[in-house]
Amino acid sequence: MLDILRQPWSWYASGAAIAFIMLILLYFGKSFGVSANLRTMCTIAGAGKRVKFFDFDWRSQKWNLLFLLGSVLGGYIASTLLKSDQPLQLSNATIHDLQGLGIHFDGQLNPAQIFGLDFISTPKGIMVLLFGGALVGFGARYAGGCTSGHAISGLSNLQLPSLIAVIGFFIGGLAMTYFILPLIF
């Protein structure tokens, strides 16, 4: 059993498992959406005293913070007990394109060139990661949700706004991939 779980998971098993997570949260009387936690964290840090948007009872979101804590533990288990010894099977076309940007594919989940300590100890590296994160946080709250809230929960409930948000995710994603990444790397 563990051997099967250790393999990289197929897209259909993974997709079905995500739908199951959405279902189990609905059964618990909650709705699946991760980025709401970022707002909750701002509130806990005291942002509610200055900005009305953060002035709410964060305890109503305690369940979501626990979910997030669990997901960190899940990442840890995946990197230890369930770690796969095979390199990531990235498509050759992507390996080639990234090479053109000067990013070498190392078979891991994330490139050491972006997430390693060497890059982050440069001013450019810390700016890229901080700014990238800020875009995600700002955009998720502006759009009222992220991949889980819009692409999974929203589309499952046939919400047109969620479809518009997902189209937006791709407009931004494609612009970054094709126009901005070549300027950064």
Partner: protein
């Protein structure tokens, strides 16, 4: 303990995100370059099953574990905030290769520099709250 079920659900979610490689910067690049079906297969399967789940819950008026009706909130009818906000989100997603869930899963996986991305996302969230009233929604 009431919170344990949420920790366990999150734990399973984290394992799924990592083992499906959806937390991989490389996989997100591959997706935005349309060079593999992998990410589309994951999200597509989740959405198709999700549509069926939501439909069945509504049709059979299924209740949650406490016996309360499961309600679905409609999103506000608008397009500006979704298109503009979504595009800003997409820029960050393609740059960092991580949306909010995977950021945290990656930290658990051992990519501690992702904490900087998380810190950035908190700054971004705060900034949104600060200038929310000036933005078109």
């Amino acid at each position: 303990m009431k919170g344990l079920k949420f920790i366990l659900s999150g734990l399973v979610f984290g394992v799924i995100m990592a083992k499906s490689e959806a937390i991989s910067w490389y996989r997100i690049q591959e997706m935005f370059r349309f060079q593999s079906f992998h990410m589309y297969g994951i999200i597509g399967t989740a959405v198709i099953l999700g549509v069926a789940i939501v439909y069945l819950i509504k049709k059979f008026k299924i209740r949650d574990f406490q016996g309360n009706p499961i309600l679905f909130q409609d999103k506000d009818k608008s397009w500006k905030r979704y298109l503009i906000g979504g595009s800003i989100f997409g820029l960050g997603w393609a740059l960092t290769g991580a949306c909010p869930g995977p950021m945290f899963v990656n930290v658990g996986y051992g990519y501690y520099t992702m904490l900087v991305v998380i810190f950035g996302s908190l700054i971004g969230t705060y900034l949104y709250g600060l200038i929310k009233h000036k933005l078109p929604h």
